[in-house]
Amino acid sequence: MITIYHFLLLAFVVFVIGFYGAVTSKGSIARIIIAFFVMQAGIAINFMAFAKYHGDIMGEVFYMLILAVGAAKIAVSLAIMLVCFRKHRTDGEEAV
């Protein structure tokens, strides 16, 4: 039987994988973006599992807002990536 703990455990594992990726990214912005996507997935599972468990739509609403902020995050990361490339000819791996 699948309980909420299964979902929480899955979210935790995914978040830890993303966190590990962010820590070991060596400043590369593309790798940081990948790690943030993975971490965001962990957060999504957490929100949705709790929303389902409590029967409250707020988890879904908040995740929609997080998606919008995530799109802004991607735009800013792309700009930083471009600036790093213009200045140092890398995407931040050696520059940072």
Binding site: G21, F37, A41, A44
Partner: protein, 197 residues
Amino acid sequence: MILSDTIFYFFAVLLIFFAILAVSSKNKISGLLFLVPFICTLSGILIALGFEFVALSLGLIDLSSICVVTVFAIMIEENNSYDSKNIKNLFAFFMFSLFLVFLINVVAAFFGVSNVKEIAVNNDIFSFKELGRHLFYSRYFLFQISGVILFCGASGAIMLVYGIEGKEQEKIKKSKIHKDEDLELVKLAPEKEGAKI
């Protein structure tokens, strides 16, 4: 019940597998491409939970942003280590994983895990209509604030890139030498005949 359990475990294993592949792959572009089946698997889990609208928006927003980041990463990549065979293999894997995940998503949509005892609730509150009602009536300011943050992020990104470009153009302007200001024309004496250079 057994089928829904199996679907959840399968999705969970697949999600962790693609997450590890995305994070640990040596090539950035491969890592970004591994995110595509990862996001599709996540959408599958959300569909199985009964959040179809969030799963669809996640697919639309995240997959499009991943595509943009991948294009930028390919443009920036200096060492062009991709030959045609590599690209074909990568593309074949990409298409296969997409097909697999979408197939499983369809299965999950039919036999979702939402009928499980502890998670089972009234599914009517998660309908599109209810979500829209909450967003536009109950959480209107939050919705507006997220829009403002998105706008600020996009305009900040443009300003960041444009600001650097403007500074570089100023440097180029400064480095230009004007004939009247910095150059002095001097008449040189004619070289002697037969002189070797």
